[in-house]
Amino acid sequence: MKKFVNDPESVVREALAGIAAAHPELRVDLEKQIIVRSDAPRNGKVGLVSGGGSGHEPLHGGFVGPGMLDAACPGEVFTSPVPDQILAATQAVDGGAGVVHVVKNYTGDVMNFEMAAELAGDEGVEVHTVLVDDDVAVEDSTWTAGRRGTGATLIVEKVAGALAETGASAAAVAAAGARVNEGGASFAGALAACTTPAVGGCGFDLPDDEMEVGVGIHGEPGRRREKLRPARDIAALAVDAVLGAKPLSAGSETIVLLNGLGGTPLIELYLLYGEVAALLDKAGVRIARNLVGNYVTSLDMAGASLTVCKVDAELLRLWDTPVRTPALRWGV
């Protein structure tokens, strides 16, 4: 296994130390393993907390700051955080107006956040939860753990964070987040698996001429394997999957995220974005805003995901408000 690490067991803690050094404007608690906005808790402001396994950076720690998250709790690599951590983050940002948890829909995340919410409730902190489940590669049926939370998480966190900044109630912040999730759909493909620090190996091995279609962000195998195809075919596959699962009427306004999974160069992401934009245009979908880059990653996986999120004027306005975090910044 070839990685810039000292010891696989201490990767998350040591990376947190690096985040602390790089971002003095954040409060990083190495003991509790949480990253907190330095001015938290703010009286009367809803606290916004997210978290999940590490290995998806900049998600979530890179989105902590004014206009977005108040705190993030990174678990071990690809392992959801534990209730203690989530509780510590929740308490650190509770300004008396309640706390909203943004939780990606994975069994482990859901259970650990639920336990933490219960503990927080015992301590008198009202917790609302937004569940993100935008990955349409997974069927949304009672026969599965449900759709995974992936790229739309960033949009949920930005929009909910913007609303929280205005002094809105926890219920309203959670509702806005849920509305984003409702309108969001994602689909990912991979050309090569990732390498986790603890295991070294990969979740799957791909022959040189094949790709995994419908992958998640945890190195797990995808829904199926296909022959590798040109970028334009892969873009069409993703656009079809996304629009197939959540059809958009012509003229719909969207935010589009063309996201790298960590090991794909930006030049390829832009190339893919060009294909996607042309296809969406042909489908009558309007791209009001876009992001191209590595935002919700899967360590060094060579792959990309497309997120298309239907937005109305209010959500778009919330997207546009100033944000100042390590990985997303504008207007300030």
């Binding site: 678990g75 071990e76 392992t79 534990v82 209730p83 650990n112 599965t144 753990a145 603890a198 797990e220």
Partner: protein, 205 residues
């Protein structure tokens, strides 16, 4: 079962998880995210430290502490599930300093109920429940023969339940994302549950 035997059991689980961590992780690589062995090993290492740093009068205390430590150290799906199972088992044993096989069997069922309530998995969903459920049933059935015999029966049933997960299509946890591709792989959680019952049989023998 008394506090010493509870400790011996948990230590045996820890040793077994440590030596089988790679297997568990490999099983998880096939249909999950390659961390099950790492997760449990981190958890049980912390459990050993927690148990070493305190003394316990009752098996219930030992097992509640085990569960609490797992909840706060493991994360993922298996942390809350195993944590809740051990907590529910420990709580069910109450404050007695020794419990008989029947009471212990009832405790195991309380643990299973906790897992099923938290995770919502039914037998056949290709999860730890597929090993846990038959193990508890076998334990209850053999409880009259004493702890050692019941534990042996439970371990054998867990092994069978574990092996029976291979042909199943997963309906819970990460493996469910794979749909039909989950068929043909043994469930990592069912495998670790078998280790837990094997350790019980060994400790109680």
């Amino acid at each position: 079962m008394d506090a010493a035997l509870a400790r011996a059991w948990v230590s045996a689980v820890a040793a077994s998880v440590a030596s089988q961590a790679e297997l568990l992780t490999q099983l998880d690589a096939a249909i999950g995210d390659s961390d099950h062995g790492v997760n449990l090993n981190r958890g049980f290492t912390a459990v050993l430290a927690a148990l070493d740093s305190a003394s316990f009068e009752t098996p219930g205390e030992v097992l509640v502490r085990t569960g609490t430590t797992l909840v706060s150290k493991v994360g993922g799906a298996s942390g809350p599930l195993y944590g809740s199972a051990f907590r529910a088992l420990g709580k069910a044993l109450g404050s007695s300093s020794t419990v008989d096989a029947a009471a212990f069997g009832a405790g195991l069922r309380a643990g299973l109920d906790a897992v099923r309530k938290l995770g919502g998995a039914a037998p056949g969903d290709k999860t730890m429940v597929d090993a846990y459920e038959p193990a508890v049933a076998a334990f209850e059935k053999a409880a009259g023969d004493g702890l050692a015999a019941a534990a042996r029966a439970a371990a054998d049933a867990a092994a069978e339940g574990m092996r029976a997960t291979t042909p199943l299509q997963a309906r819970k946890g990460r493996a469910s994302y794979l749909g039909e591709r989950s068929v043909g792989h043994q469930d990592p959680g069912a495998t670790s549950t078998w280790l837990v019952f094997e350790a019980l049989a060994a400790a109680a023998a």
